[in-house]
Each structure stands twice: as C-alpha cells, then as structure tokens.
C-alpha cells in the first residue's frame, strides 16, 4: 500500500517536472514563434484545401461531393483565423503585417468575406447548376486577396527572402 502510494507520488512528481519542463521550453522559445508556427499551419490548411479544389476542377477528377466538402472545411476553418492571430506578432519569421492589429475590425470583415465566399462555393458545388461553380470559385480566390492584399507582406518583403 505504502509502496503504491509512493509510486503514485513519484509518478506525479515526474509528471509535474515534465509539464514544467515543457512550459519552460515553450517560454524559452523565440518570441511568439509557437504562435507564428500555429497560425501558419492554420493558413496552410486553407491553402491545401484550395489547392485540392483546384486539382479537382482543373483536372476534372471524379470525386463526387469533394469540392463542397473542401469548401465547407475552409468555411469552418475561417473561425480559426482570428483567434490564431490575436497576439500582435509581425516581426520574425512571419509575413503578417502590423495593419492586422491596427485595423482589427477590417481584418475580421475580410475573414467574414472569405467564409461567405467559401460557403457560396460549397452550395454552388452542391447545387444543380454546374455553371455556378466557376464564378463562385473565382469569388473565393479573390477573397484570399481580400485579406492578403492589406494584411500579408508582398513576396518582395517576405521573411522567406531573408
């Protein structure tokens, strides 16, 4: 009994040590690097879905329902963007411009526009009129620029050049 208890205590202590070690290592990372990497993953997930929709439409792949599914995933993932960017981080390995935090309402509007465009594509892809898909697709493509133009550094200034 005693042995079990001390074993539990030992496990608990070890666990706490690990947790605090993990905290320390998180804290000791470059300023905001974890947040930056997370939001880059949120954005690449959107890009991956966008690329997948492109693959389907431009190559006429036979994957029924997939365009609507990808577009639905993008619309849902729109809700991840604002929380991921909450912390003001525009220095270092990021292309986020300080304008995001200078005009947060405009940033949220742009995200809302993107979500709406993604929903429109999903419903066009689910609908009966195949000719509605192209314009909806273009609308979604343009909505990327709705955010990227004002809020993402252009390639000329990208951190990837440095």
């Amino acid at each position: 009994m005693i042995r079990t208890r001390s074993l539990r205590l030992l496990v608990a202590c070890l666990a706490m040590t690990l947790v605090s070690a993990a905290n320390v290592s998180a804290d000791s990372r470059e300023d905001g690097q974890a947040e930056i990497e997370y939001r880059q993953k949120v954005m690449s997930a959107l890009g991956t879905n966008m690329g997948a929709i492109g693959d389907i439409l431009k190559n006429r792949l036979d994957v029924p329902g997939a365009v609507a599914n990808h577009a639905g995933q993008m619309a849902d993932a729109a809700a991840l963007i604002a929380p991921a960017f909450k912390k003001h981080l525009s220095e270092g390995a990021t292309d986020a411009k300080p304008e995001i935090w200078a005009d947060w309402a405009k940033f949220e509007d742009a995200i809302a526009g993107f979500e709406e465009a993604a929903r429109s594509l999903a419903s066009a892809a689910n609908g009966d009129d195949p000719s509605a898909v192209g314009p909806a697709m273009r609308g979604l493509g343009k909505s990327c620029g709705g955010c990227h133009k004002p809020f993402r550094k252009p390639k000329e200034e990208s951190y990837k050049n440095k």
Binding site: N49, M50, A52, K58, R138
Partner: protein, 309 residues
C-alpha cells in the same frame, strides 16, 4: 554605376540621332483603313494584353480609378514613369488618333507628334501584333468611357527623363518582332507564341533586363528581380526547380483563370490585376495555347529569390 556608364554611351548616341529621327513608316502595317474594326474581337485582344491595367491607377486610386486614364506611377531602376491616358478623350487621351497613329505607337513607340515613348510601354512586344488585332483593339478602346486627364512627365533623373535618350535605347535594344512560320509546330503552339510574345507581353516583366534596360533574350522568361513597380517577376520557363517545370498545362490554365497556384496560394500585385482584368476573361482555348507555348520554351535555371518557385 555600370548602369550609368552604359547610359552615357546610349545618351551620346541619342544626341546624334534625336533630331534626325524622322517619322518612320509604321513597319509591317498594310492599309489599315481598308480593315473593319470589331469591338468584340478588340475586347479579346485587349484582354490578351492583360486588360492594359498599367493604364489604370488601381494602386493609387483603388477600384474608383478612372479606367485607362493613366497616371499610374511605375517604379523602375531608371525612375518613376507614369502611364498615359488611353481613353477616347480627344485632348488628353487617344480620341483624335488615326489608325496609323495607333499602329505607330504600338509598333514603333512613337507618338503622333513623332516623340519617343519610354520603353516602360511594351511596344517591343506589341510590335508583333497583326494589323487586324491593332484595328480591333483601337475599336475597343474607342468604345471605352472618355476621361479627361493630362499625362504626367516622369520622375526620373537625366538622361532617363529625356525622350531623346530613347532613340539611343531603341538602336541598342529595339527590334520589331516578327514571327517565322514554324511549320513543324502546331496551330496551338503558334497561337501561344503570338499571345505570349506579342499580345500578353509576358517577357516585358518576366525577362530580366540588361544594363541599358533592354530585354536579355538569353534569359527569356527566366524571371526578374527588377519588375515594374519594384515587383519580383518569377521564372516562368519550365525549369524544374527554379521555374514552373512542375506545373502542368492544366495548372497554368487554372492559374490564368483564377490567379491560384498549384499549392492553393493566391497571386498579388500587377499579376493579379492582369489576370482579373485580362487573361481570366479569355476563352479557354487561348489560355491552353499560352500554356502549351510556355511549357515548350527552353528551361532556364534562374532562381528569383522570394518567389514560390
């Protein structure tokens, strides 16, 4: 510094030429008045030229910018040059131009008064346009709304601000574009060549320039770090690791329709504008021709840092 030295030579040549430069015949032009201009066909040529968006000041005035009224500052290594008013306004635009005036501007870079246009205006590419396409394009431009707006002189140091210098530039760098028959190639390829090399004028941004500001033909379409407005222009030859060798023809057509790259990322800057106002509205067959030709040009290794390739 090397650039200034080269330009001293070009300027000296220009001095000796500028006052002698007579109004040459619009080379390659037949009797333009005998042709019938068609606004709808002209719209297609206009789109193939990327919607001439350099003539609309979107960066300065946003979506409210008067269409084709010019005044857009184009930053280059030689200074800032402003695009001109190509609306049908008779005084400040091209409303009073004859077909020959238009052909001379597009093919020789000369104004109706015989002044040289700065080569930020891509007449070296447009010199390859057919008579019919020129006449149709002018018909389309004349059908656009007229806006009164005076043209603006460049903000550039001498000698780059002086039109006489352009005479020298032309001697060194300008050869009117002519296409051979290329009998072994397909109709699609020949159409693609015409679109890429003349109408769509891809090389004007995507081919790097020499010290005197001419296109470096040995690096055709291999990308430039000194594109207009200070933008990077990626390598669009089919080189596998530094160009767009991994892009299929379908990828290219999709890109020109949607502005979306194979990885799902979008396009910014001047390229998005020429897609949105031009290439995206072209028939798919035209985009397929562009894609087929671009896939066929020699792959050139040239990494343009900062571009996705």
């Amino acid at each position: 510094m090397r650039r200034s030295c080269s330009w001293t030579v070009v300027t000296l040549v220009a001095w000796s030429l500028t006052f002698a430069s007579a109004r040459a015949d619009a080379s390659g032009a037949g009797d333009l008045e005998a042709l019938v201009g068609d606004v709808d066909r002209g719209a297609q040529t206009f789109r193939a030229a990327g919607g001439c968006t350099c003539h609309t000041n979107y960066p300065g005035e946003g979506d409210e910018a008067p269409e084709l009224a010019g005044g857009r500052g184009m930053e280059t290594p030689f200074g800032v040059f402003y695009s001109t008013n190509i609306t049908p306004d008779p005084e400040t635009g091209i409303g009073g131009w004859t077909r020959d005036d238009f052909a001379r501007a597009m093919r020789e870079g000369l104004s109706p008064e015989g002044e040289h246009y700065f080569p930020i205006f891509p007449y070296p590419s447009f010199s390859g346009l057919t008579d019919q396409d020129l006449v149709d394009m002018l018909a389309y431009l004349r059908a656009r709304p007229a806006t009164r707006r005076e043209n603006r002189p460049p903000d550039a140091p001498f000698p780059f601000s002086w039109r006489g210098t352009v005479a020298g530039w032309k001697l060194v760098n300008f050869m009117p574009k002519r296409f051979d028959d290329a009998p072994d190639e397909s109709d699609t390829w020949r159409r693609g060549r015409y679109l890429v090399e003349a109408a769509a004028h891809c090389g004007e941004c995507h081919t790097p320039r020499t010290l005197t500001g001419g296109l470096d033909d040995s690096m055709a379409l291999a990308g430039s770090i000194e594109g207009p407005e200070g933008q990077l222009a990626p390598n669009i030859t089919p080189h596998e690791s530094t160009g767009i060798g991994s892009w299929s023809e379908a990828d290219l057509v999709w890109y020109l329709q949607m502005g979306l790259k194979p990885d799902g990322d979008d396009t910014q800057g001047l390229m998005f504008e020429v897609i949105e106002h031009g290439y995206a509205e072209l028939p798919t067959s035209e985009l397929e021709a562009i894609a087929a030709y671009l896939r066929s040009v020699p792959p050139i290794e040239n990494r343009v840092k900062g571009t996705a390739n």
